[in-house]
Symmetry: C2
Subunit: 255 residues, 2 copies
DNA sequence: ATACATTTGTACGCCTGCGTACATTTATAT
DNA sequence: ATATAAATGTACGCAGGCGTACAAATGTAT
């Protein structure tokens, strides 16, 4: 099976605290939106951590010990299958939180969560978070709203997986990632993309070739450069804009 | 396009109240689990309604005016596309609630919600529900938990749509529906199923033929009989059990 | 009873993506 | 510098599903 070599990509690391790194800049949008009352309660309890490429934050079936507010980089939510196949069913960057099930009283993760691109996050132990929540109503509301947004996203991805071909989905994926990762060069192997898209690595090669010939991206061993976002949007299915549109609409409604 | 005739199936009806019908039996599991305190607040504000086949409860982009606690029958959550294609991205029966976005402060639906099979529900106006929620903490918790379960379901469907063929998905769909509809005969046309599965009607014909020859179902003009559930489970992909397993696990954890 | 609409069966050519395999290129370690 | 590992390009046959079309069967209305 083509996926036999794949799992090596997804190594398990322990995020390590970085004492000197918390240089005052909070990238996470949920944290930034909190009233001073709540953030002053919260921040002393959190740990600033550096996340590396392909770190596994949560594993399906395992107890969720920490939650993560991403400042930069992104996290992919994946379903896993016995034969090693994976499919990305959700994606979040600094707009969200990783560890949602605990907010609703559940203890284990249903999905694998993998980081993509180096980044930083505020990590919080679940016990601590649950103790804080009753005193942080705005945080709770934000987390709940985000869970709905993420749910909407995955319904759109469900449809996307059904209706659109590899090239369209690859373009959509690159757009979503580009939005969440600073810079125009994304560190990506085709094997990794295949795991995100739930396709063969060889199919990704083909799709990447099409996007490259269209002048949208530039591919070279382990990194993708976005050279023309407009063309990338042309090559993508509507799912990208559908998600963005709905997100905006709801965020307006909620105020 | 093959779907040109399809929308006729999804007629818009207004659910009509049925005064004499509320014969004391509450089928909805969320409502049944509520403490007397909350249900006595809630029930006077709700209306018992009869739902007919293929009623459209919510339409994407439209303001959600009423929420529904299903007692029987089921509701399908569908993404819609400009060309008329639809894909089911969620499914709920008497275990859930229809109208989740409003719980989190959003006003419009992102999805089309269609009933399948005759059934009944308790309908509540959104304004009323939102006024009740602060006084019904258990209801709020239940609704939030259900939204997470539904989210998990749609992530599984996202993967399912990517990895499994029509026959497996049809079998999965029938199992999920069978769980939620009383009786072994489901009123279904192949055209309707095609809209659920996001496939051609002709593909459904083929898949239904396979399941029929396997002795799992019996198909005849507009209705499917489940004649052998075990065989149906054999023909289905793991997604059915994956969803059920995770649901059970989480429900245990949450107590 | 007859006409009409709906539902189902079936067929055709086509294209995408799968599983698999192997060669080639590029980076990394010794 | 050389060996090893990782990443990419490419090829092959094959299966599933698509779009489309039309005929047959089965309800429903007049």
């Amino acid at each position: 099976m083509a996926r036999d070599t794949a799992p090596r990509l997804l190594r398990q690391f322990k995020p390590s605290p970085d004492i000197a790194a918390s240089d005052g800049k909070v990238g996470n949008l949920i944290l930034r939106s909190l009233p001073r009352k709540e953030s002053s309660l919260l921040f002393p309890e959190m740990e600033f951590v550096r996340l590396m490429l392909h770190q596994v934050l949560h594993e399906p079936g395992e107890v969720i010990r920490s939650g993560y507010f991403l400042n930069s980089g992104l996290g992919s939510l994946l379903t896993t299958h016995p034969d090693g196949k994976t499919v990305e069913v959700g994606l979040t960057g600094n707009e969200g939180f990783i560890g949602l099930p605990v907010i609703f009283g559940f203890k284990t993760s249903a999905l694998r969560v993998v980081t993509q691109g180096d980044g930083t996050a505020y990590r919080v132990e679940i016990g601590t978070l649950l103790r804080m929540l009753p005193r942080c109503p705005e945080l709770e509301r934000q987390l709940q709203r985000f869970s709905m947004l993420l749910g909407m996203q995955s319904t759109q991805l469900a449809a996307c997986n059904r209706l659109h071909d590899v090239t369209e989905r690859l373009a959509r994926w690159l757009l979503m990632s580009h939005d969440r990762i600073g810079g125009t060069v994304l560190p990506l192997t085709q094997e990794f993309l295949a795991q995100m898209l739930g396709s063969r690595r060889a199919s990704v090669t083909g799709a990447a070739g099409i996007l490259q010939r269209a002048g949208a991206i530039e591919y070279s061993r382990g990194s993708v450069g976005i050279v023309n976002r407009a063309k990338l949007e042309e090559s993508s299915c509507d799912c990208y804009v559908a998600i963005e549109r709905q997100k905006k609409r709801w965020l307006v409604e909620a105020n």
